[in-house]
């Protein structure tokens, strides 16, 4: 093309126009009719997706949430309506150029089985014509980011990875060209529950640094509450039953459909809304392995505590020590109770509560991403958190009532 602004350069700047918090993607009357079907799969969907947020599309199966998502990168071409991205209508530009600037993660992952992990991650940089050095550096960086040491994993083939590792590669591949927008279609749906929780937490931590604009589809309301900054609850035909923050949806469901969909146990679900880092942890009595045993004993005797948490050189929790353990002559690492029940700061209070109930000590040890000790959480902390949360939502809700969202949208 001879135009000064080729589609590529236009899209390359995708996201630079929009300040954080403003609408990054706008869906206008987006409609999909499949041939031979009487009712449209997606019927005039209108939605504004703010920059830097995770917006979750959730709804019963067959409601059109996946179709809606796949219209954004035009894997499914809309029958009518518009997609405005960063102020530009992308409904009719070259879809391949568009897709190179939008990360795409699907449930079945779809890694290319015939090429190595590193080459999989390098797909979009190669399409964009990056030079080899830049691509290699980026691939290694990303594998590191998703927790797969590049030296170990770069040269492997997808079949040599576990399901969880594959999805990490899937995420790395989607992030490769640093796209401002990510589309994720049930990305953690096919992964076992334990790995899923870990991947969700890791992804949230990643997102807190990256601040991508993310559309995330799931059928699981719990995952929606956990992952979403905002949730669009969709009913059949992709009609929006409610589009709001998780807090709002849990405390103030807009209608019976939302209420039914959210289901019982809304209070417990709200525990998934608060992260451990948002709660002030209690300080424990700690000692490290490189300290003198007499010094540890002295601190223990002076305190009111019945146990001391022993940390290793990197301040990672090792054992719970009681008085008798400190007085025994055996090495400290061999006595006492192993410190289990650790939660990362990124985990939700629900995760923390679960750990507490499972662990023997009745407390959860909060650690940072390197596993270093940050503090303790106990059941009282969680109850306090629930109470503050309730007050805060009530306040939020009162404030929200004052501004009519319809009127604001019209202005």
């Amino acid at each position: 093309m001879s135009n000064a602004t080729s589609p590529e350069t236009e899209i390359a700047s995708l996201g630079e126009e929009t300040p954080p918090g403003q609408t990054m993607i706008e869906l206008k009357d987006l409609t999909k009719r499949f041939p031979g079907q009487e009712t449209p799969a997606v019927d005039r969907l209108n939605l504004e997706i703010p920059k830097g947020e995770i917006v979750v599309f959730v709804g019963p199966s067959g409601c059109g949430k996946t179709t809606s998502l796949k219209m954004i990168n035009r894997i499914i071409e809309p029958s009518s309506g518009n997609i405005i991205m960063d102020g530009q209508d992308v409904t009719s530009i070259d879809p391949n150029q568009l897709r190179r600037r939008i990360g795409y993660v699907i449930q079945q992952i779809g890694l290319f089985p015939h090429i190595r992990v590193g080459d999989n991650v390098a797909t979009v940089p190669n399409l964009l014509g990056w030079d080899r050095e830049r691509t290699t550096a980026r691939v290694d960086e990303l594998l590191d980011v998703v927790g797969l040491p590049p030296d170990q994993y770069r040269e492997r083939f997808p079949k040599e990875l576990s399901g969880g590792q594959r999805q990490r590669v899937g995420v790395a591949r989607a992030l490769a060209a640093d796209p401002p927008v990510l589309l994720m279609d049930e990305p953690f749906g096919a992964i076992d529950p334990i790995t899923r929780t870990r991947l969700q937490n890791e992804f949230l931590r990643l997102q807190s640094e990256l601040q991508k604009t993310i559309c995330f589809v799931t059928h699981d309301i719990d995952e929606a509450i956990k992952m979403g900054d905002r949730i669009a609850i969709l009913r059949e035909g992709s009609r929006v039953a409610q589009f709001a923050t998780p807090e709002e949806i849990l405390t103030n469901p807009a209608n019976e459909f939302v209420e039914d969909f959210v289901g019982t146990g809304a209070t417990l679900k709200r525990l998934k809304l608060t992260r451990v880092r948002e709660v002030e942890p209690t300080e424990a009595l700690v000692g490290t392995v490189d300290e003198d045993r007499a010094e540890l004993r002295r601190r223990f005797d002076e305190s009111e505590w019945t146990a001391m948490l022993l940390l290793d050189e990197q301040r990672r929790p090792l054992q719970w020590l009681r008085g008798t353990d400190l007085r025994s002559s055996r090495p400290l690492t061999e006595v006492g109770l192993r410190a289990r029940a650790t939660v990362e700061e990124q985990a939700t209070l629900s995760d923390a509560l679960e750990e507490m109930l499972l662990g023997a000590a009745g407390v959860a040890i909060v650690v940072d991403r390197r596993g270093a000790y940050q503090g303790l959480l106990d059941v009282d902390d969680i109850i306090t958190a629930i109470q503050t949360m309730r007050d805060a939502t009530a306040e939020f809700y009162r404030a929200a009532k004052l501004v009519d969202p319809e009127a604001e949208a019209g202005a």
Binding site: N96, I102, L111, P113, F157, L183
Partner: protein
């Protein structure tokens, strides 16, 4: 087996068998190569277009229904006697396994893999060459292998209507049954063709080793 070793020891037999083997290789390799090129195109088309799929597959399998002697003979008035009618007929025969396996190979590629390639902005041509064909390749190669086996065997019949190849030695034997020396010729031609088939099979084993990406090898 003494009679057979005697037959093989004869220099004129050796010359004959060697040149016929060379002809037979030519008579197999050329049709298979042409069929690979045509079959790839037809297979990709049949995979892409649901309307053309069934016509393509039924025409191609109709070829294989026509007995080889008849097809060779049908071509003689058009292209003359010799290697040409055999090469055309054998190409038509080799098409079915190649087209069928190209289609099923392409269908065997995980849809999620193709969709993610699309989602990353690969054009249709790129998806075909970089994703779909490499992943369909093991199945396609198996089709080429079957096509080759088929061709090696059927090529023998070309000799009945003046074609080259090891069929000539068999035909010589047939005409002399039950005279002395006929069994030698029958065995000589047949065994040479079987050995050729085995060699081709080994060749495909090697090609598979070299060309099937490690990530999708069994």
């Amino acid at each position: 087996m003494a009679f057979f070793t005697e037959y093989l020891a004869d220099p004129s037999t050796q010359r004959e068998l060697l040149s016929q083997t060379a002809e037979h290789i030519y008579l197999t390799a050329v049709p298979v190569l042409i069929a690979v090129i045509l079959g790839l195109g037809l297979g990709i088309t049949a995979h892409r277009s649901p309307q053309l799929r069934s016509p393509i597959l039924s025409v191609v399998s109709t070829f294989l229904t026509i007995p080889s002697l008849a097809l060779f003979a049908l071509l003689i008035p058009i292209v003359g006697i010799g290697a040409t009618p055999a090469i055309i007929a054998l190409t038509l025969y080799a098409l079915l396994p190649i087209v069928r396996n190209t289609v099923s190979g392409l269908f065997s590629v995980d849809r999620a893999v193709v969709e993610s390639a699309k989602g990353m902005g690969m054009s249709a041509t790129m998806r075909l060459w970089k994703i779909e064909l490499p992943n369909a390749w093991p199945v396609m190669l198996a089709g080429v292998r079957v096509a080759t086996l088929l061709t090696v065997g059927i090529a023998a019949i070309a000799a009945l209507v003046g074609g080259p190849g090891l069929g000539q030695e068999i035909f010589t034997g047939i005409r002399r049954i039950p005279a002395a020396g006929s069994l030698e010729s029958l065995l000589g031609g047949t065994v040479a063709i079987v050995l050729l088939a085995i060699l081709f099979d080994l060749l495909y084993l090697a090609i598979g080793r070299l060309t099937i990406p490690r990530g999708i090898r069994e």
